[in-house]
Symmetry: C2
Subunit: 320 residues, 2 copies
């Protein structure tokens, strides 16, 4: 029987993004191992809009009751201008562990709540970009797999927004944001392209591949001019709504990947590191594989928890 590592600390880690809140009650062992004592999900920043405090406290109250006033660490859009309290954007190039030096405390009754900073970068053509939350996952990636701190790696973090990140010798050089996930959600639920449909039917990989292929291979397949085919295929090519939904997903992810492959900011590598949920990893992996690009698949929850463990450890070591 393996001996139990002594617990170093307990804390509540909250990845509070645009569309979802994901909270974990964690115990960190002295060997760095994280045990998740509980987890829950809640509404994203976009939906909550203002009532962040009561939303959070209501959700985590059972843990506070059971384990006492644990420190709470927040990351993601919750620290943006549309969140609870705007925290800094640290400028790239930067090592992800530098976020550990800039948590911002929040006065919230007698609870110790900290919000992590985000990152910003400048791109060619006077473009700017920003991220919140993914930098913590990248910190977690390097914690779990220190080999990514050596050499050049292109990371792809799909979610509400896809982040394409160039990591060079452990430094985030710059990154680009694509609106892929948010656009899929809006077009699925609020456009004329698809009827309201229950998401019970299985995902149609054949339609997904068809949409991705159109974006990837058809000359001049501008997204604005191809999106309407989601509806016209239902009208004239016999696509069901379920097929249309997967086809739309393929159009968008194909377009996202094609743009990343043609981006001027990097030489697209033969291997991409995917950090996301299983379904999104599978979607991106399938399209990248069809373009002869290898993928490494990292679970986003594992990366997030490893990132928060670094935050908790840094806070432990910090003088009060």
């Amino acid at each position: 029987m393996r001996q139990q590592e002594p617990a170093l600390c307990c804390y509540i880690a909250v990845d509070w993004g645009t569309s979802h809140l994901r909270a974990y009650c964690c115990q960190l062992a002295s060997n760095g191992e994280v045990t998740v004592l509980g987890s829950l999900t809640g509404p994203g920043v976009k939906k909550v809009q203002t009532d962040f405090k009561s939303t959070l406290l209501t959700l985590i109250n059972p843990w506070l009751t059971q384990y006492g006033p644990l420190p709470v660490y927040l990351a993601g859009q919750i620290g943006s201008s549309i969140g609870w309290l705007e925290t800094a954007y640290l400028a790239c190039p930067i090592r992800p562990e530098q976020i550990l030096q800039h948590p911002q405390s929040l006065a919230c009754e007698h609870y110790q709540i900290s919000i992590m900073p985000g990152l910003s970068c400048r791109l060619p053509g006077q473009q700017f970009d920003a991220m919140r939350g993914e930098e913590l996952q990248i910190l977690g990636l390097c914690q779990l797999y220190p080999e990514y701190e050596q050499g050049e790696h292109l990371l792809c973090l799909p979610g509400t927004h896809t982040k394409w990140v160039l990591l060079r010798d452990g430094v985030i050089e710059y990154f680009k944001t694509a609106l892929t996930g948010e656009l899929f959600d809006l077009l699925c639920h609020r456009s004329v392209l698809l009827p309201k449909l229950p998401q019970t039917e299985p995902f149609c990989w054949h339609s997904f591949a068809r949409g991705a292929a159109l974006s990837l291979h058809q000359q001049q397949a501008d997204l604005l001019h191809t999106l309407f085919s989601v509806r016209s295929r239902q009208l004239f090519a016999g696509d069901s709504a379920t097929e249309g939904r997967a086809y739309l997903s393929g159009l968008l992810i194909g377009s996202d990947i094609k743009a990343a492959m043609q981006a001027l900011e990097w030489q697209f590598p033969p291997e991409v590191v995917l950090i996301g949920n299983p379904m999104l990893r599978q979607c991106f992996s399938q399209v990248l594989t069809s373009m002869a690009i290898d993928t490494v698949s990292i679970d986003v929850t594992a990366a997030t928890l490893a990132g928060f463990a670094r935050v908790a450890l840094a806070q432990q070591l910090m003088p009060d």
Copy 2:
């Protein structure tokens, strides 16, 4: 004093699209002149969803009371699968006046209501497209300006969706749909790109031009990868929300026009005929002019009314 032309008939013309209903109580003179006795606007098909009959009758009831049971002609998305009653899609190539032979009558109490058909076309690469409502505007264009029935003309009809239409010797050869307007609306009101803002401030043409230039001139300016700059410019370049909104409009319209200019379906001509509302015509005209393309500007209401006049006349001449 000009002599009053004898009235040939009165009718109610309803352009019922995805986002708006626009109804006109019309009197057609024997010389073809249309007098608008009244006009009103109402909710689009997407908003009404099912209760089409009572929505329409409530809106036009004052006219029915004042003028008696006038015939009612409907065109637009109201005849689609998401509308009141699905009418045919007539296949291109086709002369727009052929729609006059295919109105579909609707049993609605004792009222005489007809819905016009739409058009469909096949594009290269096994793509399909569909329109409803614009074919009536094109019919009206040819009625108002018969010179467009000769030679080749590229028409651009911006609205909820942009329709790019190749008209050759009075025949609609084919057309392409871009989701430009619907996407603008969704991204303005329901995405993280822009805060809720009152639309009282004047449109910022400078920001519009900046967004359009990025889409038109920056190499690899894929829309998915540039949309987030609407937000990042507010964060890091001092753009106000009003400026961000105009910049987003520029990104989308620039992308729409660039795709049309690169489309394989036609040789982009030195002149484009714009049919739309004044604001959209100005937006598209400004971008096209910046690309050294001439524009002819046609008011969409004038074209719509001229199209419905052809419908009313054809119905008058039809044996019962």
